[in-house]
């Protein structure tokens, strides 16, 4: 039996999907693993890797045209998984670039906006970020204060966005702001007057990822900076549904890395003259991890096939995000106990994944919000309105 792919899910993937996964796994082994401990400790994202991710085809990989690879959703999920098995910081970079920055341009942008940004973003030559969350509005983004007001034919934006992945390294920010017609999306290039960013330091999670504040102070944009294809909260929420889908897969990468590490450790670490993997309590922990990883992957694959068939409901994505992040975090913490004191050092990947998952539990819809989305779906009663 395969200790990781216990249910033999491999034959459920197409040759193309396996090739994309294997290429991504190899890239992570070559380019992420050798540096990740250093980057995590130094709290830096190696921005020079962006163009390498681009030439591999990872950025906006599930979009078609404009230099994007045009893969299916399952392939995108598998790539997220392999990246996060390296580090959730890298997966976050790719999620934000592809699903939160490129996807809205691809879906709601004008032809000029697509031509201007998508090829460069696919190549990793331009980096994007997504500005929705504000200091005082997280789970309730509809309450946002950031506003865009018409001034002649221009738009003038004012407000702050917080906890923005890639903010400080972005060449373009997709900023969501309140207008007279409802919430609209704006493309804000880096050097626009009145637009600045400030990186958030002292994070103990997702350290190999840039998190920033976006500050819009009378930021003047031309009329064609607005995304013409969408008005209302549907715009940003549909982006989040895209990115959450990647998280459903990604966190199983964190979980797998922790499980593999704990399994190996349990076979070599001796206590009471025996490998600790021979103790019943350790075996139970390992088996529970293996069960949840296989179940989580089955879930992710099912959602992926539904997405590729075009019939995946946002509530089903919430199901996946809630379950898989919860289980991944539990697996990371349990793996930590198997490693004992070694589990708290950066010599092993476990505490890094566990810490990263604390952010993943919160971003892109907290576990509480996803619970309430499901609660509403099954009762018909809305708990947060």
């Amino acid at each position: 039996m395969d200790a990781v792919d216990f249910l033999d899910l491999e034959p459920l993937l197409t040759e193309e999907e396996k090739m994309i996964r294997d290429t991504c796994r190899r890239f992570v082994g070559d380019r992420v693993m050798p540096g990740i401990e250093k980057w995590f400790e130094a709290a830096e994202f190696p921005v020079e890797v962006a163009t390498e991710l681009g030439s591999l085809g990872l950025l906006g990989m599930h979009l078609s045209g404009y230099g994007c690879a045009g893969t299916n959703a399952v392939s995108y999920g598998l790539a997220c998984l392999e990246l996060e098995a390296g580090d959730a910081g890298f997966r976050s970079f790719v999620s934000v670039q592809g699903s939160l920055a490129m996807w809205p341009i691809w879906k709601y942008g004008s032809e000029e906006q697509k031509q201007e940004w998508l090829p460069r973003m696919a190549a990793g030559e331009a980096i994007g970020c997504f500005g929705l969350t504000e200091p005082d509005f997280g789970s309730d983004p509809a309450g946002m204060r950031t506003s865009a007001k018409k001034n002649g034919s221009d738009w003038v934006l004012n407000g702050n966005k917080l906890w923005i992945t890639n903010g400080g390294i972005a060449d373009v920010a997709i900023v969501w702001a309140r207008t007279d017609e409802g919430v609209r999306g704006f493309l804000v290039p880096r050097n626009t007057k009145g637009f600045t960013t400030r990186d958030i330091h002292r994070k103990l999670s997702l350290r190999a990822s840039v998190t920033s504040e976006l500050i819009l102070d009378n930021c003047r944009l031309p009329a064609d900076a607005v995304l013409p294809g969408v008005t209302g909260m549907k715009g940003p929420l549909s982006c989040l549904s895209e990115a959450r889908f990647g998280i459903v897969w990604g966190v199983m990468g964190s979980a797998r890395a922790c499980y593999e590490c704990a399994l190996e450790y349990s076979k070599t670490r001796i206590a009471f003259d025996k490998p600790i993997g021979s103790f019943q309590l350790t075996q139970e922990k390992l088996v529970n991890m293996m069960l949840e990883i296989n179940k989580g992957l089955l879930l992710a694959l099912h959602l992926g096939r539904k997405k590729d068939d075009g019939n995946l409901a946002p509530q089903q994505v919430s199901f996946g995000k809630l379950n898989n992040v919860r289980e991944a975090l539990a697996i990371a913490r349990e793996a930590r106990t198997i490693l004992g004191a070694n589990g708290v050092t950066l010599e092993y990947p476990v505490i890094r994944h566990a810490n990263n998952l604390e952010s993943v539990l919160t971003y892109e819809g907290t576990s509480e919000i996803h619970t309430l989305i499901l609660g509403q779906a099954i009762t018909g009663l809305n708990a947060f309105a």
Binding site: E16, M19, T23, R26, L58, M61, A69
Partner: protein, 255 residues
Amino acid sequence: MNIVVCVKHIPDPNIPGELEGGRLKRSGVQGVLDPGDEFGVETGLQLKEAHGGEVTLVSMGPPTAMEAIRRGLSMGADKGLLVSDDALQGACALVTARVLAAAIKKSGPFDLVIAGVESTDGYTGTMPSTLAELLDVPQVTFVKRLDSADGTIRADRQTAEGYQVVESPLPALITVTAGVNSPRYASFKGIMAAKKKPVDNLSIGDLGLSSEEVTSMQQIASVGSAEARKAGEVIEDDGTGAQRVAEFLKEAKVI
């Protein structure tokens, strides 16, 4: 420049191999494009990028060997040719060379044939030289650096002592060492495009080879496990330590 790259689908060398009737078990085993052949594919792609033309991948193996061809196509090769035939199971290096020679001739005129120095499963290292003879072209083996110009190639050829600089007219055959270049990743766009690239499937009948020509001359007398690695030798320095280390390195042909 039309380039043919020989590629082989082998059991994943990262997974310990199993024997089956005196041969390496191949069916039902995770297979990969021979890592040594990736250098050949990369060499072919770089030549194509410099001079134009096409890169054709040629392989012999069971239908699963298509995986190796698809991988090469994903890296950027243009087309593939796979010879599959039950009669070729367990083919020796000579038969393999005959089949590949017939397939290469059938695929059209070529300027350069590229192969790895040896396969990562069989390790005979004799196939490329045999193939060059059968194709009646000059061979430059153990290439660690390659320059090409109109109608000729100039290669640094690795030897035990150093390297030779060798020139050859085209068409020719070269074998490339690991380290001749850094093979590129198969890009996702390349992977998506690979399935649309043409691959010919041929049997020995299609190549016009007789059954004698594809009967292996080589017989495997016996197969045994490699000797287990011994613990290293510890040299205590009694004043002659440096001398003994030097002798050891000389014996290993390192100095």
